[in-house]
């Protein structure tokens, strides 16, 4: 079947999609967007997190046909050209990336947390928001640093600030 949707602000379509295929497969294998990662395919790891109509979801658990006519934003859609999004920049500056496999999902999920938060989220709120994103490398401390940094900058953006 054919699936038409909006991806990162542009119309996109995929043909010959198998009816049981996931949105993740369509993004990675048919639309050439390998940002969202495929690790567990069972909702456990969060590495495939993307926005679906503005809400972060596991793309591996969305049937491709369910995305028909919907709006998807992947990690590729957060940066503008070579200009990284604030959350991405904070991950780089805080050293929150090692192998990087979990990073795209964490960046989207953290982006959603910060966008919805009222002020800088507390540690308990950050931990709860990221509970569905597994990282096998960092031990999470630097990831928490990155989220705090990006959240603080979102509240009080000051161009010259450094970590």
């Amino acid at each position: 079947m054919r699936v038409s949707l909006t991806v990162n602000g542009r119309p996109a379509a995929a043909d010959d999609v198998w009816e049981g295929e996931s949105l993740l497969y369509v993004l990675r294998e048919r639309l050439g967007l390998p940002g969202a990662k495929n690790a567990c395919e069972q909702g456990e790891c969060g590495s495939c997190t993307v926005y679906l109509d503005g809400t972060p979801v596991c793309a591996c658990l969305v049937a491709a046909g369910q995305a028909e006519g919907r709006e998807v934003v992947t990690v590729e859609g957060l940066a503008s050209g070579d200009d990284l999004d604030e959350v991405q920049r904070a991950f780089v500056e805080a050293g929150a990336v090692q192998c990087g496999f979990c990073t795209p999902g964490l960046v989207v999920q953290a982006h959603a947390l910060i966008a919805a938060a009222d002020g800088v989220p507390g540690d308990a709120e950050i931990r709860e928001a990221l509970a569905g994103n597994l990282c096998r490398c960092t031990g999470y401390e630097k990831i928490l640093d990155a989220v705090r940094l990006a959240a603080a900058r979102a509240v009080a953006p000051s161009p010259g600030s450094s970590a």
Partner: protein
């Protein structure tokens, strides 16, 4: 495989009548796991997410009617006051991403004995609205679960909504697991006080082939609690309540826990949740 995508509820019912072998899909958090891991391929997927209005809830008299497509995330954000037990249970489901997609109707469709919505639905006496081209019927929640991962829906039926009485007293849910997130219950328990009717409801999860109530434990509370005087909870009564809850379960040993551990944990959770609920009830009287 076919992909069916009705745009109206009537169209959804017509598809299901024509294709009783089609698997409904909403959040996909159960259905897609099965497909991705190749644990069985449905003949067709019947996607209900394009049916307008299915993801909403309405207040109807003393009940909240949860549309089949209502996500846990919205239930938690919007119904914590009306349905505290179900909202608490919803907060423990999976992760934020899972709660953004998963639904109570999907939990009922899957009918896993470990599903977190079941104990609070049992404790508050919910009813399931099952619809088909033949009409709509309501199924009391304690008649809905018919076996391990089996429910009372006919092959041509879909869940349209779940009707849950608005809480008339304190409600609590408790769940045992290895983490605070992403955990399938080792066992779980819900209690709801219905002070107007001088009775309490219960629900046991993950400790029998189906979710179930603890009838004798409910009778003990109806007759034994000091509903009028709102005196402190008698520790002997609380202990006996725990024993009767454990006695109503018939757990097995499995990868998540042993049967004897489940029985012990159920008695502890029952005692504790009753204590919290009774404190709220008597505290309100004092205020």
């Amino acid at each position: 495989m076919d992909f069916l995508r009705p745009r109206t509820w009537d169209e959804a019912l017509a598809f299901k009548a024509e294709r009783p072998d089609a698997t409904p899909i909403q959040g996909g958090t159960d259905v897609m796991v099965e497909i991705n891991l190749d644990k069985g391929r449905p003949a067709a997927l019947l996607d209900l997410t394009a049916v307008p209005g299915l993801d909403d809830w309405t207040r109807e008299g003393g009940e909240v009617r949860l549309g089949a497509g209502l996500t846990y995330a919205r239930l938690i954000a919007e119904l914590g006051a009306e349905l505290p037990g179900l909202a608490q249970a919803s907060r423990t489901v999976g992760s934020p991403q899972i709660r953004n997609r998963g639904t109570v109707a999907g939990n009922l469709g899957a009918a896993s004995p470990a599903g977190d919505s079941h104990p609070p639905l049992l404790a508050s006496g919910a009813v399931v609205e099952a619809a088909s081209v033949r009409g709509t019927r309501t199924i009391p929640i304690d008649a809905f679960y018919t076996g391990v991962k089996r429910n009372a829906l006919a092959p041509d039926e879909l869940i349209r909504a779940v009707r849950v009485p608005v809480a008339a007293g304190p409600q609590y849910f408790s769940k045992i697991g290895t983490r605070n997130a992403m955990v399938i219950a080792v066992c779980s328990f819900a209690v709801a006080l219905h002070p107007g009717e001088r009775r309490a409801g219960t629900g046991i999860g993950s400790a029998a082939p189906t979710p179930r109530r603890a009838a004798e434990a409910e009778e003990l509370l109806a007759g034994g609690l000091d509903w009028e005087g709102r005196g402190p909870l008698d520790p002997g009564l609380a202990r006996r309540f725990g024993e009767l809850v454990a006695g109503a379960a018939s757990p097995i040993d499995d990868v998540r826990g042993r049967a004897d551990y489940r029985l012990h944990a159920l008695a502890v959770m029952a005692r504790r949740t009753l204590g919290w609920a009774w404190n709220d009830y008597t505290g309100r009287a004092a205020a």
